[in-house]
Amino acid sequence: MLDVVSGILSFSFYEGMVFGLVAVGVYLTFRVLSFPDLSVDGTFPLGGAISAVLIVDGVHPFAATLAAGGLGLCAGLVTGLLNTKLRLPALLAGILVMVGLYSINLRIMSGANVSLLREVTTFDKVGGFLGLSGGSIVASITVALSIAVIVFIILNWFLRTEIGLALRATGDNEQMVRGLGTDTDKNILMGCAISNGLVALAGAVVAQGQGFADVGMGIGMIVMGLASVIIGEGLFRPKGVARLLLAAVGGAFCYRLFITVALRLGMAPGDLKLITAVLVIIVLAVPYIRKKIRGEWIPPAVRW
């Protein structure tokens, strides 16, 4: 039984790291910049598509993965430009990019699906380095953890620099930041770019892990990212840059864990989503119920 539990935990840990990247990306736009960026559903498969096509063409998987992240950055720039230069509302800008990317992804892959099963992926390279198969959970976790750690270190440093601080303030009080002499439009562009770069990177990793890139693999990503961020905030109540980043990843881990557990409980197919939702509700209601029992004051709910 121990190996069942460890199997569940290790797989959820791996997924938590990978989808944690998505959660951090969503956190950067939705929370830090107060910019509701919906293009995530399109940039995730973009990352998968780019990396898959490059790998099939013979490019080294590490380079292909980085390239995927780079193009995700560009996609984010487009969303930001639509909003800052053409004055399209943020929501619409994100939706337009997401919709446009569907067609673009189809073109990149010359179809709906590119198989990576017979190709050498990042997992195979890392697995080979460790003397293991690319499909082993250890290889998977090594890849995911390495990427997550590198991203965390870079972001943690960047968000504490002068530019990074101004970026964080833009979402909090844009008028004040403008009054202090910063071009907030540039901050929005930077934030959208970084966010979508991370999401595309995650898409590239997932595609290599699951053995194929598919035009539909991004559906529901924004929901997963938001749920992870909100669960992370609700559970860990983080303060400060480092804790906030960790909370996003932690939230992703919990969310994937709930899904994995619900899957193994083996309810009727189709009930999986309901069970996941119920688990999330229970987890977030616990602090509320505890406060009520103790008769403590409960602050009003945030809108989002």
């Binding site: 709906a112 699951q210 109540r237």
Partner: protein, 332 residues
């Protein structure tokens, strides 16, 4: 206070994990004849995939592998979500089953990716092109631990049937989800084959089930009849919308799978998904009996012609009696 919250959470998670792991402890109990563990995963719920699954189970029973006696089936459905399919794949691999059956291309791909490095045999079914999908190296040979049954079919019988029912047809329409690789491939082949029969082809695409009705409506007036490929979106989940378009506008709709046609289309040359399931079931039985997968090359399914006269009437078409007599399956 925050630390306490974390403790409660961790304790709760442990409890849940123990509860979910309990069923598996029972599976490790000794005694009794050997019980084979067979996992089945499918990408979504619709009639053809369900017949496929049933075919597997029935074929296995025929060969002496009966559920509850010497076979334990673990069945999961991804309900259209690729990420869930990947989770299911990983879950199945962690169970160390004797065989995994994967129905449809995305489910099969995720299973093969997760099973890499293990020697768990994988039998796919309802995968249109397993070579392009990377499941097997070629049509002639199985992969070290992967083989299966494809629902690839030849296009000429489809077009021939349509021409037999509607001899004066000049323009053929088709509707599918460009995001499904099997459907896109079939549409491409239709474009290549149709001109040989003197037909031009017009297309409409639907990116999701919500777009199916509009895609169907966009074909009205542009063509004499419509053919739907084996597309999960248009031919599976969204088929009712297409039937509505056909009946309301007296536009004959032909299909490519028995389940699809059975919901109310004129007819078609179909791959029989129940047959496919049984073929996959027979393969699984052979593997459980000790045969090596390398000796079991992938196979394609045979094509049967299907007609549904009552549905045809609803769409304004009377199927010639000669065609009905010749058909392999006539739906009442």
């Amino acid at each position: 206070m925050r630390k306490k919250g974390l403790l409660v959470l961790v304790a709760g998670l442990c409890l849940v994990l123990i509860l979910t792991a309990l069923p598996f402890m029972a599976g490790c109990a000794p005694g009794g004849a050997e019980v084979y563990k067979v996992c089945i995963t499918q990408i979504a719920t619709h009639p053809d995939l369900d017949s496929n699954r049933q075919g597997i189970i029935d074929a296995m029973a025929e060969k002496g592998f009966v559920e509850g006696e010497n076979v334990e089936y673990i069945v999961r459905n991804a309900e259209g979500d690729m990420t869930t399919a990947a989770s299911i794949a990983d879950y199945f691999v962690s169970l160390k089953p004797d065989v995994i059956n994967a129905i449809t291309t995305p489910s099969a791909q995720t299973v093969v990716a997760s099973a890499e490095g293990t020697d768990i045999p994988v039998v796919f079914s309802s995968v249109t092109d397993p070579v392009t999908a990377g499941l097997v190296p070629s049509w002639e040979a199985a992969a070290p631990n992967v083989t299966g049954v494809s629902d690839w079919f030849e296009m000429p019988p489809q077009v021939e049937l349509i021409k037999e029912v509607l001899p004066d047809i000049t323009v053929l329409g088709t509707a599918y989800n460009a995001g499904e690789v099997n459907a896109a491939v079939q549409a491409q082949i239709l474009n290549e084959v149709a001109p040989q029969y003197g037909l031009t082809v017009v297309e409409a695409t639907a990116a999701s089930t919500a777009d199916v009705y509009a895609a169907g409506m966009s074909l009205v007036g542009r063509c004499d009849a419509v053919w739907i490929p084996t597309c999960n979106t248009v031919g599976g989940v969204g088929i009712e919308s297409i039937i509505k378009v056909g009946e309301e506008n007296q536009l004959p709709i032909f299909g490519s799978a028995v389940g699809m046609i059975g919901t109310g289309l004129v007819g078609g040359a179909s791959v029989d998904y129940y047959w496919i399931g049984k073929a996959a079931g027979y393969m699984t039985a052979r593997i459980l009996s000790g045969e090596s997968i390398a000796d079991i090359p992938p196979i394609k399914s045979a094509v049967s012609t299907v007609v549904y006269p009552a549905a045809a009437e609803r769409m304004g078409v009377t199927i010639p009696q000669a065609v009905i007599d010749k058909a392999d399956i006539v739906i009442e």
